[in-house]
Symmetry: C2
Subunit: 320 residues, 2 copies
DNA sequence: ATGAAAGCGCTAACAT
DNA sequence: ATGTTAGCGCTTTCAT
């Protein structure tokens, strides 16, 4: 079922079908109507591969995320899909498992699919910058957990987000405020900055990666040292939830014995027990800005990552 | 950067490049090496659109899911991606929001992309069957929440899953066992069947859709009527978590005051408080079987949905 | 306002 | 073992 069939049925040439469909040239109203009828009758669907081949543009975008075990990641994918679809793009979502060699392979696949742009989400490396640049693809970074030289794109100001989270905890009067998360993360520096600005000695750091297992393990340590702690700032909703289980198992009350503020603002934070006060990352805006990048309408310095602000969402875990 | 460039650099015709790449014809070892060198030197990447146009097969699969606010859905997407990638397919994931008109549009898009198959996940309607059949695409249903005439594919035996969950609750000695979930779901019948088989009067049904808001609202009702309840079976991990918050807010202890078994076996059930005993849905096997369908190697009755068994994963919420 | 025709990059006969 | 070539469905000059 091709354009040719439609053209024949409508009694025109295939060019006219294109004109009608794409508005590429003026078409007489009667002709256009006949063409549309023929399309309907035949149930014709344009062949996107042929179009992509001819046009050199696939109207396809690639997104590489580390995984989908995290509601925040899933939400981010969804936000990208929504933004992309609004612009007429479909999106190919791929999972790297945080493995940079894998990212390289996936970039190959995306290049082969002739995607019009690639978004590399969350996990980014210098190696990835090299691969992506070499691929010749248009690309941008989406909400990277760390700034990498040579990467352009959009993210959230993690340091500032951690600062407002910690400031809120200080505002409650907590003086001994710990940190749960990876110690190389930008969030530690925001946490420490808030504490130091208030003249308070930083509490302990509970090192943990962004996995539920690790969050749980860290939570056990937090519970064990709860006597020296008023509160903790936890780097993500997902690990906060896992830590929460350990903290409850330790017989502690949140926020009574220990207050918590976390990060992400995903649905995981809303119906946990207690509901988590968290720093919401504006995923919708993030997705839109990232597309602006890919589609070349972001007037921005090369090699720079635009930082959006997170917003404190107050619920119960902080003691409010 | 095309096949032609590679061929020239390697001093062969473009056909030989194809032969080398696809093993479509014997190639002299020396020639093959030269071709591979040329490919590497030029950083050549085959054009998937051209290939799809020529071959009439895109090596692309479409998956339509209702949303991604649910970790179970996200996990399912991931499982499909893994299974598909293992077979050399990329997957286009699309979100319907559970809206059947939307599903129709997405099917159009997928048809246009010349996907080799479509998986319609979770939410399925007779209307969808019509649209999909009319599209001429190869399709199957993936883990539908209800059986629809004309739909082929693979799912989980929800009734049986609910039965083993409820039987476990009965085994604990609970006699008043409620149900939380949509009352039109197959899980109610499994729940009721287990109860009736044990000669126990079915407990109350707390009607609720599969959203966190609804789960929370239902949880409030459960808490309010906890005096007449020993346990509840809850239709999904996601709503169980939301209900858990309401139940805790009601000052109840789980499983002390009220035992819970839920459904899905997603990561959301593992690090909740308490950890949820749940019926695990074998998403990996589901994805693989669904692909078998699409790729035509499933020797199965047309119009039939193969049912896989869920497996009880015992954690703390049941009282074990 | 419409038609004819070339060509996007690839594969698969068919030739050699 | 390798080269030639037609054509997949589409868009786009360039004619008319």
């Amino acid at each position: 079922m091709t354009r040719r069939d439609v053209a024949r049925l409508a009694g025109v040439s295939d060019a006219v079908v294109t004109y009608t469909l794409n508005g590429a040239a003026p078409v007489a109203v009667g002709t256009a109507a006949r063409v549309r009828d023929a399309i309907r009758v035949l149930g014709y669907t344009p062949n996107a591969s042929a179009r992509a081949l001819r046009m050199g543009t696939s109207k396809l975008l690639g997104v590489i995320v580390p995984d989908a075990t995290n509601l925040f990641t899933a939400d981010l994918c969804r936000a990208v899909d929504r933004a992309a679809r609004a612009e007429g793009y479909d999106v190919l979502t791929m999972y790297s498992g945080g493995d940079h060699a894998r990212i390289g392979e996936l970039v190959q696949v995306l290049a082969s699919r002739q995607v019009d742009g690639v978004l590399l989400a969350l996990v980014v490396d210098e190696q990835d910058v090299t691969v992506l640049d070499a691929s010749g693809l248009v690309w941008a970074v989406l909400n990277p957990t760390e700034a990498v030289p040579g990467a352009r794109g959009v993210g959230v100001d993690l340091e500032e987000g951690a600062r407002i989270a910690t400031e809120h905890l200080l505002w409650h009067g907590y003086r001994s405020v710990g940190f749960v998360g990876p110690s190389k993360d930008a969030r530690v520096v925001g946490w420490r900055a808030a504490l130091e600005a208030a003249g308070v000695e930083p509490g302990p750091i509970f090192e943990c990666d962004f996995t539920r297992e690790e969050g749980y393990r860290a939570g056990i340590e937090v519970a064990a040292r709860s006597h020296e702690l008023d509160a903790v700032f936890i780097g993500s909703d997902m690990i906060a939830n896992a830590a929460l289980r350990a903290i409850h198992e330790g017989g502690l009350d949140v926020p009574g014995d220990l207050a918590i503020v976390s990060f992400d603002g995903s649905a995981e934070a809303e119906y946990s027990w207690p509901a988590l006060t968290t720093v919401y990352q504006p995923i919708g805006a993030l997705a839109v800005r990232a597309l602006d990048h890919l589609l070349g309408r972001q007037p921005q310095q090369p090699g720079t990552i635009a930082l959006l602000r997170g917003e404190l969402v107050i619920r119960s875990s902080c003691g409010c």
